[in-house]
Amino acid sequence: MAFTAPKETYTGKVYAVTIGTGDKAVTFGGENVLPFHSFEGVTPNRPVIAVEIQDVPPADWADTVKKPYEAVSGDPVTWAKFCQDELKARAIALRLIGTHPDRENRSPADAVKTVKDVLAAVQVPLIILGSNHAEKDTAVLVAVAEAAKDKNCIIGKAQEANYKTIAAAAMANNHKLIAMSELDINLSKQLNILITQMGFDKEKVITDPMCSALGYGIEYTYSVMERIRLAALTQNDVTMQQPLLGDVGMYVWKIKEASASEEDLPQWGALEERSIAWEAETAAALMIAGAELLIMRHPRAIKEVDNLIDELV
């Protein structure tokens, strides 16, 4: 007798989210099965990898990931065009890290100029991220959301401490919104509820349960993502059916394994291979757990994950 693979049927589905405008708009999510279980249902969209750039030169990035952007990262516009034209990025994540009070402390007006310049230079969808300073992000993200009005960007990240203002700005200017909580599935659900109770469309939210790098608590992120997906699909929980974000690059490239030299730690192997593999592995794991949107840094790591997606879809 021929073998028939057992199939699971699910009651819920993940919302499909489209970002950007025109030909270059991209859609992710929309599946009614666990990640890549195309044999059980529909998986209409492949995960999207957004290439990360920032508003100030990446002085704090590890050398390995600084190198491919050496010639372009002095200016966010050149950097964004390089990602779109040379790396063929499907989306770009612009992190306004320079607005952080402990960094360059750039003003909301500075951030607005950067966002406008980048938007004028590229056609691919833009994800606009603050500096993760709850208070400063409120001012910065409200200003840039308005500057990017109707460009259908993703604005992030809204957290428990500042979600009201940021969600209102995203709503008023027709953007999608990242809702971030800190590795707690119940608080993640709660934040989604609070945001939708403001009148924000639940199908325009992207859930970020908070990333962690391989070796630095990835199992927590993995588990929260997996449980969110199961709640969405098996319990048809409408507050948990948003696509998931894996903000991978930022977490991977600050760990020791991404910068420790071969001279210091020869047993860890070649630094370049090691660190790129680290980013790719972290992203791949989170994609398997349920992330439909990944923010990554190194072009080779991105390529590897893209190849993996090709094999899985």
Binding site: D184, N186, K189, Q190, I193, R227, A231, Q235, V238, T239
Partner: protein, 285 residues
């Protein structure tokens, strides 16, 4: 169901201050109130009580029993304080209860006190490392505690098994494991083992208006599972009388007249049984 009145706990500011000042007034007032509300035992939780624990426990036991004809649940990790409390406990009102022994070797000697003073002992089904994952693991630990009680010579009738209620806001799936454990515990012996829980921990960390709702539903589910005793708010549990039938009806899939109440019960049962993910605003969804 036997209610062990939970209100005399060092965690409460008023009680803590009264304990520190040895002010009998608030202690006796709260004890009396809990007795009137239907408590069968009064919990005296003095915390770890590393300094002066013996004297404090004796003062608590005598202060409470001066005005209330009930046994006391001696709730502390301080072995000497428990023994001191047992020495002055008035057994005329029933056997004292000690909280608790467990599978942690440091807690084994509590069983000796159970034998020496013929009191009841709570056996918390946790080991030294980590929390039990599910009902089966709790039953396994329960069996070990029972075996040890028999070795020490404590009759199983003096043992209450406690599956350890955890916070629904952080460890949601443990709620149904606890309910399942209460059922399992009764099967490991004939006559069935007595069971007890620290009920209110289920709603610890939840918004204040939710707490009585979660406590009462958990109570009815545990009662339905055969629970013997609960360390709980006696006033809240007295209110369960009005709601028990409604909750049981909704559990059985029946429609009840008050639709809003029906939704509240359904959603709360779904959260406790792990059918929907808990969030602080779950009732609003």
């Amino acid at each position: 169901m036997l209610i062990i009145g939970e209100k005399l706990s060092i965690i409460a500011k008023r009680v803590r201050e009264a304990m520190m000042k040895k002010d009998k007034g608030p202690i006796q007032e709260i004890a009396t109130r809990q007795w009137k509300e239907g408590s069968g035992i009064i919990d005296a939780n003095i915390g770890p009580a590393e300094d002066g624990g013996e004297e404090l426990m004796q003062w608590m036991v005598t202060t409470i029993q001066e005005v209330v004809p009930l046994p006391i649940c001696l709730d502390t990790t301080n072995f000497k304080a428990i023994e001191a409390g047992l020495k002055v406990h008035n057994n005329q009102w029933g056997r004292a209860l000690v909280n608790s022994t467990s599978n942690d070797p440091e807690r084994f000697p509590i069983l000796e006190l159970g034998v020496k003073y013929n009191c009841d002992v709570i056996g918390l089904t946790v080991g030294k490392g980590g929390l039990p994952a599910d009902a089966e693991e709790r039953a396994q630990i329960a069996a070990e505690i029972m075996g040890r009680a028999m070795e020490y010579g404590l009759p199983l009738d003096n043992l209450y098994l406690d599956p350890l209620v955890l916070q629904i806001a952080t460890t949601q799936d443990q709620a149904r494991h606890v309910i399942e454990a209460v059922k399992l515990f009764q099967h490991i012996n004939e006559p069935p083992m007595k069971t007890v829980v620290g009920l209110s921990n289920i709603s610890n960390g939840c918004p204040k208006p939710l707490r009585p709702i979660l406590n009462k539903h958990m109570f009815v589910l545990l009662e339905d599972a055969g629970l013997t005793a609960a360390i709980a708010d006696a006033k809240e549990m007295a209110e369960v009388a009005e709601e028990r039938k409604l909750i049981l009806d909704v559990m059985a899939g029946k429609e009840i007249e008050d639709k809003q109440k029906m939704m509240e019960i359904r959603k709360t049962l779904d959260v406790i049984m792990g059918r929907t993910l808990y969030a602080h605003s779950y009732l609003e969804m």
